[in-house]
């Protein structure tokens, strides 16, 4: 392992950052929406079960659905008011998902029992984890994996390194950046809890070089609080924030194909998750709000907004001056991995880091032509795959070949499709191929 390589990974791309639109904009608090939609599934794992009924009145922070297993988390009412419906509602990730709809009473009354407890660090580990689960924490870096699961690694997989993911390599998004600037202490204290839970010896905060102010703030505060954390500045390259690439950059270890970070003794959490862990453990505060970057050429105003989970996109967009007439595409998340929305009715969920509105011109993709084997996609793939071949295999229904060429290792980062001069939508093909492979595997077992 060369020394120079230690701070990054191989492959990757440099899309225009578009961070300047919002990176200097302080987080604004969004007014309460008149209605929120809380989907029972906002995380990877088993969906939660509703525990309220239509007509019930609920308080902010009150669970509206409960977890149905270990890999599952509850969701909470994010405002006080009346449950007006429990039905299929649009969801950012796709068609209807069972959701609890709450009409606001405008008072924002909270459940009792939330509040800072001085000696939270003395709590039992078990209690900490159950508080984290009860608070409904699912990773806020986008993948929304239940946090308490990640933080209770099996005994045969000791964790020695914890990495705080402050990379935010997706273009446009600045919510993590702002959080690091405006509430660094919460993040670090959350990180302290996580470290305590994992028993890891090394704690690293990874931040891309382009957020030098955040690096500075973090370094200063770490020193001030005398915490044993390293702050590492990373090369600006997409997808630096992807878990495996981040671990590689920080520790030099490669998560094995098909494996998990814990296989190499690492756990990665997003800065937002760390802050939420602090709230959950120290104040028993459930996860009912998050920071969303609203940005893009199609917006009238761009902002970083602290908003309640369940807030319909339309409300949030209106708060930012509404979309422009020539808006063409609304994306939940960043432009590289985010999901295009067919309507503005879906709500903000725990994993919503941004809303990006592109104008019509940006939204159009030139027609696809044929692959000329330029190998750009291969050069940039951070997973060492051959996207060109995967795409061709999927197109020609050679699913077995696709599997042998490790299609399942694709992290869907989009780098390949970004660089393809033939405008082939490789990620779409690969996603479809992965589904076919999964089907095949299922059939086989």
């Amino acid at each position: 392992m060369g020394l120079l390589k230690s701070k990054s990974f191989s492959g990757g791309i440099h899309p225009p950052e578009h961070k300047h639109e919002t990176e200097k904009k302080a987080i604004e608090k969004c007014p309460l929406p008149s209605m929120v939609i809380i989907p029972v599934q906002q995380h990877i794992g088993a969906p939660a079960k509703p525990v309220v009924e239509k007509g019930d009145t609920v308080l902010a922070g009150q669970p509206v659905c409960e977890s149905t297993g270990f890999v599952s988390v509850p969701s909470h009412a994010s405002i006080s008011g009346t449950v007006t419906a429990i039905e299929q509602r649009p969801h950012p990730l796709g068609p209807g998902v069972l959701s609890v709809v709450i009409e606001s009473d405008g008072e924002d009354k909270w459940v009792p029992g939330i509040g800072y407890e001085e000696n939270y660090l003395e709590l039992d580990k078990k209690e900490m984890l159950s508080r984290i689960q009860a608070a409904g924490l699912a990773g806020m870096g986008g993948a929304t994996f239940p946090t308490h699961v990640k933080l209770s690694p099996p005994p045969d997989k000791p964790i020695n390194t914890f990495i705080l993911n402050g990379v935010e390599c997706e273009p446009y998004l600045t919510s993590d950046h702002r959080l690091m600037l405006e509430d660094p202490k919460k993040i670090l204290l959350g990180m302290q809890i996580i470290l305590h839970l994992l028993g890891a010896s090394r704690a690293v905060i990874g931040i891309e070089k382009n957020k030098s102010d955040a690096i500075l703030v973090m370094q200063r505060l770490v020193a001030e609080l005398k915490l044993p954390f390293e702050v590492i500045s990373l090369k600006v390259k997409y997808p630096q924030g992807a878990e495996k690439q981040l671990i590689k950059a920080v520790t030099g270890r490669s998560v094995p194909s098909g494996g998990l970070p814990m296989d190499v003794g690492c756990v990665v959490q997003n800065v937002g998750t760390a802050a939420a862990v602090f709230d959950a453990v120290a104040s028993k505060r459930p996860l009912v709000e998050r920071i969303v970057t609203v940005t893009g050429k199609g917006m009238n105003e761009t902002k970083n907004v602290l908003t309640r989970i369940g807030t319909p996109f339309s409300f949030l967009l209106d708060y930012c001056g509404g979309i422009q007439d020539h808006a063409g595409k609304i994306i939940m998340g960043g432009p590289m991995m985010g999901l295009a929305q067919s309507s503005m009715d879906a709500p903000v969920i725990k994993g919503t880091s941004g809303l990006l509105v592109l104008d019509e011109k940006e939204s159009r993709r030139c027609a696809e032509s044929v692959c000329i084997s330029c190998a750009r996609c291969i050069d940039v793939c951070p997973m060492g795959l051959m996207p060109k071949l995967l795409g061709a295999f999927v197109k020609n229904d050679h699913i077995e070949d696709a599997k042998n060429y490790n299609i399942l290792d694709c992290i869907e980062c989009g780098s390949c499709a970004y660089v393809c001069p033939a405008h082939i939508n490789l990620v779409h093909l690969i996603k479809y191929g992965k589904m076919q492979v999964a089907k095949q595997i299922k059939k086989a077992s």
């Binding site: 993709r365 032509s369 990620v427």
Partner: protein, 344 residues
């Protein structure tokens, strides 16, 4: 009013490249050499280039129409193939030859495989090899006089190209007893002059195919393409490096390690081939190591054919032969998947 938003799979942003942009840039990069060709060989060079291009584009267009396929003549690849084909013939070929060559390149070299992106071998070089095998007399007629009047770049011999002079000289000097004294002396002199003619080789004032003579003009284009990252360093450098090494070792008339490296690099179609033809994306490997091996393979075959082949020209055949190996190279050099040994 409901607005319909675009919905598509991620990613939602792209860089600004496109296939036509790449193809036209490569054509642009070849433009200086075209100007050079006209300067050195006269207007006939221009006719040949135009005929090559027009025939390539017309073939593609007509075949698209006949096969009821979307018209692809605007993607610039047919233009490039026609241009490169024209660069690969001597200025003295009859004017129908570039037309036939382009036709073969596009129709047989590319179209029967499904068109752009699917052809396993370099179409322009196939066109050239087809012409060479069909009408070798015309193809090897290098008596077209370049601007300065020195075909081989040296005074005393009016024989074809510098490489050919070298080849004949080697033959003659190795079997001196069979030839007359004057003959041997002329070629001894020729060898000496060849070493001094590097300047001519560099600027392109020698006999040869239209587009291959001027190292200088070709390098301008190559530099532009490298800057734009349309061609990488791996194939050209490993190719030229291998030729340099091997011709230093084996290329000399005084035994091992006496080859005159610069001469071998600057003569023949090496620069054109290494930068513009071996790098054709469709027909070269896609992996890092694959490209290095590809270049090395081209280099070895080039020197082999130059040294002991039937003619003093190895570049086109070496690239074609390595094209055949491309799928295997890609297979053998599959990139290492992140965090895993390759399955299978």
């Amino acid at each position: 009013m409901e607005k319909n938003f675009f919905v598509s799979s991620s990613p939602h942003i792209y860089d600004q490249e496109s296939i036509p942009k790449i193809m036209y840039s490569v054509s642009l990069a070849l433009l200086p050499a075209a100007v050079g060709a006209v300067y050195f060989f006269g207007l006939r060079a221009l006719y040949i280039i135009i005929i090559g291009i027009v025939s390539a584009i017309a073939t593609e267009g007509i075949l698209c129409k006949l096969m009821k396929k979307p018209l692809t003549i605007n993607d610039g690849s047919a233009l490039l193939t026609g241009l490169l084909l024209a660069y690969n013939v001597s200025v003295q070929v009859p004017l129908w030859m570039p037309a036939v060559g382009s036709f073969f390149a596009i129709a047989v070299g590319k179209f029967v495989f499904g068109g752009l992106g699917f052809n396993p071998m370099n179409p322009a070089l196939l066109g050239r090899a087809f012409l060479l095998a069909s009408w070798p007399t015309h193809m090897r007629n290098f008596t077209g006089v370049p601007h300065s009047g020195k075909i081989s770049g040296i005074d005393i011999i009016t024989s074809p190209t510098p490489l050919e002079v070298l080849k004949t000289a080697k033959d003659i000097l190795q079997n001196q007893s069979q030839y007359s004294i004057e003959k041997v002396n002329v070629y001894k002199q020729a060898i000496l002059e060849l070493s001094d003619s590097i300047g001519n080789l560099f600027w392109g004032n020698v006999g040869g195919c239209l587009g291959e003579t001027s190292v200088f003009l070709l390098l301008i284009g190559a530099a532009f393409l490298m800057y734009k990252r349309y061609i990488g360093w791996k194939i050209p450098f490993s190719y030229i490096g291998t030729v340099a090494l091997l011709s230093w070792v084996f290329g000399g008339k005084d035994g091992l390690f006496s080859g005159f490296v610069l001469f071998h690099i600057f003569s023949g179609g090496l620069i054109l081939g290494a930068f513009f033809m071996a790098t054709d994306m469709v027909t070269s490997p896609v992996t890092f190591r694959g490209r290095i091996f590809f270049g090395i393979g081209c280099g070895i075959i080039t020197v082999l054919i130059r040294q002991i082949g039937g003619y003093p020209e190895g570049v086109s055949y070496s690239i074609l032969l390595m094209n055949l190996l491309t799928p295997m190279l890609d297979r053998w050099t599959k990139p290492r998947v992140f965090g895993g040994a390759n399955k299978k």
